[in-house]
Symmetry: C2
Subunit: 205 residues, 2 copies
């Protein structure tokens, strides 16, 4: 989602293919150079467009990388493995696999860091990555409650808080394991994590 084209019905239309090329080039540059050495001039050359074209569509490096990374997380699917524990393990393993890719590792944390001083960027991240994937928690929770594996919440507010908590715990733990502890979130680890999380959630509130 590059910057807005405010209902421009006239004039030369934008080259839609350029967007995809730029985002792909950005991810490639993240792999080869990492966040700090990634320059917009370099991305423009890789994508085969002029640097000025890049600046016409994105405000800067931050916004560009957010969009480039956000696409990576759209491939997440909630598997149906028959039990809540197995479903969670499946999603967490997918999430870990994405975070193991260098273009996600170096890009995601950097934009989160930048977002600490940029309210608009923080909102962009929330909208295009976080909220977008919260669907997985919602779907998994609903399915588990149908199965009777999780108690139903008393009211909507409590349910929302529970979803937020779960999301922070899952995403936070996997990110910390992968990027800070620098250990792989492999099947063994995910299994142990899921056991603790699920026991805690199933316990009476």
């Amino acid at each position: 989602m590059p910057s807005r084209t405010p209902a421009s019905r006239t004039g030369r239309p934008r080259n839609a293919a350029a967007d995809a090329a730029i985002l792909a080039a950005t991810r490639q540059a993240l792999v080869e150079l990492g966040w700090s050495k990634l320059t917009l001039g370099d991305v423009a050359v890789r994508a085969g467009v002029a640097k000025t074209t890049l600046y016409r569509r994105w405000a800067g490096k931050n916004e560009l990388v957010v969009d480039a990374v956000a696409e990576l997380f759209d491939e997440l699917k909630l598997p149906d493995r028959g039990s809540l524990a197995a479903d969670i393990e499946g999603v967490v393993l997918q999430f870990a696999a994405i975070l193991a890719r260098p273009e996600a590792r170096s890009g995601l944390m950097a934009v989160v860091a930048e977002a600490t001083r940029d309210e608009a960027l923080r909102e962009r991240i929330r909208a295009s990555i976080v909220e977008r994937q919260k669907r997985l928690v919602l779907a998994g929770r609903a399915r588990a409650q149908e199965r009777g594996e999780l108690p139903a919440e008393r009211d909507a507010g409590e349910a929302a808080r529970a979803v937020d908590l779960i999301f922070d715990m899952v995403a936070g733990a996997v990110v910390h394991r992968t990027l800070v502890s620098a250990e792989p979130a492999d099947e063994e680890w995910v299994h142990g994590f899921t056991r603790v999380l699920l026991s805690g959630l199933a316990a009476p509130g």
Copy 2:
């Protein structure tokens, strides 16, 4: 810990006060400018030293900020509130309070992002921040096992894995809540988090 002084017994000694001044100036610059706009020249001016002095002690921006941020976490203490749940809540609230400070927010995530492509930096972070604070988990766990609130592990390997898992879950969740979800890790949230975590840990393995 600036770069090594390999047993230099002769010559003019380093101004020890300059180290503290530089690290304090770095934190101040993080507050006012954030990571991306922080320059070493600016830090040198704030600290009242020459830019070259800074480069003689630290290899670059990354290493400097790691040291500046690491000091923030040394004030963490394990409180003795009588129960494991209360102790954990106390530590997590302290941790959240540190992460609420702008010099920690903007600095910590940035160096973690940089560390994804810099093995030496990753090790520096692990040694000066992560491993350093793992003492809190170890102490809390030992105290809880004395109280009979947590089962003892079967062997040392399992104990180490459990400590690592707890650390990733606690640090990860608080960081994600604070920096990504951008919501305060206040008493209510910490209470809910602790309840889930503790129920999960106490459950039979």
